[in-house]
Symmetry: C2
Subunit: 225 residues, 2 copies
Amino acid sequence: MSVSEKNQPEASEVRERILDAAEELFAEQGFDAVSLRQITTRAEVNLAAVNYYFGSKGGLVVEVLARVVGPINQRRLQMLDEAETQAAGQAVEVETILAAVFRPVIVSMNESEHSRQVVMKLAGRCMSEAGSEMPEAMRRLFREVADRFCASLSKALPRLSAAEVFWRMHFTIGSMLYALTQHETLVLLSDGKVLADDAEKALEELVAFTAGGLRAQNAKEGAGK
Amino acid sequence: MSVSEKNQPEASEVRERILDAAEELFAEQGFDAVSLRQITTRAEVNLAAVNYYFGSKGGLVVEVLARVVGPINQRRLQMLDEAETQAAGQAVEVETILAAVFRPVIVSMNESEHSRQVVMKLAGRCMSEAGSEMPEAMRRLFREVADRFCASLSKALPRLSAAEVFWRMHFTIGSMLYALTQHETLVLLSDGKVLADDAEKALEELVAFTAGGLRAQNAKEGAGK
DNA sequence: ATACGTTTAAAACACTTGTTTTAATTGTCA
DNA sequence: TGACAATTAAAACAAGTGTTTTAAACGTAT
């Protein structure tokens, strides 16, 4: 009988070390590319411990993801709550909504002891890598925030049809994920014009770009050439 | 001595079948997830044929990618050429530049016999999946188009600094890739409000969004609150 | 037909993967 | 202290990977 059947909140020396090691490795190389032996070696733990504590590699992935993404999504909802109560029934400004989606990633990045890149890449991978086989648990984790932000955006952009809101949320997510996972590429390609490690600047640019995209004229309405 | 050392353009029955099968499978599941046995089985070809014709799995990946992305990039440059000569020294409109980046994917999609999704996902994966270990050959394939479009965009958006052009090209690419690779997710999440298989509509929405993002006010200039 | 280079075929190779099994160790409560 | 569960450890397992080897078949020009 494994420890995972216990009801009390699971906490164990080696369990934590496995989660920490897996988090870093997954962020660097992706879920499939990392082997259990890599993880257990870095964690200085026996190989079988992973299956003992998490049942399978898949179980470990889910727990790593939940531990990173859970607090981020929680803070997202909280920030949106505050913005909406402050708006008192009126529509929240687009930039404020976007900041509520993006900023929690930075916050979570700063308050944990992880290297900056880890949180960013992990959060990104969990959506881009896990196509349709993304476990149900994850889908549920994201469903609430997606619905809330969809509603909030629809209210802020009454000119857009429901379908258009979906399209543009989609593009917004794409911009965010690419920024999270491919930041080094940008730094590299820009020849020093874009600095690494300036998360605030990245947030600023991301909000500006996506806000512009969300507010853009309808394709049809546009310049009647 | 393998056939790949010959100087004449390589063309062979089984070679083509391998490329076709690999293309589909890579698009569906990604490069690492697909095994050589899957490929050779679908191609109805002996396992060793892959190493015979392509040297290694990596060699196969490169050739598949080049065969898909090469023509797309060629058409991109051609469309941009036409737009720039027509503009006669003046800046090309942002929407026109974006269409020159995005439309070739659709064109390539329609003229080949591949299933629609194949080209889209493959083109997407080749940038999102191959982080920094993307082979040099690929980097060179994309370098020219990236440079050309960067220059064209800078001219069309003189208000933006060089760094900001990089940032926004980055987000633009992210939107495109996410649209290419995660289109099914969007269709699914939208509850029928967004239709699959409507590439023209997708292009239209993508251009509208990214044009809006590119033209957005600077973060600093924005609403002086 | 013989010989030769090219291509296909089958099998084996060396290695890695996630997972189990089995045994030893540890800690805790009666 | 003794007993029982939880945990750690080491080894083996079965399956799959890319690649190489070896031999057979093929086609073509001498």
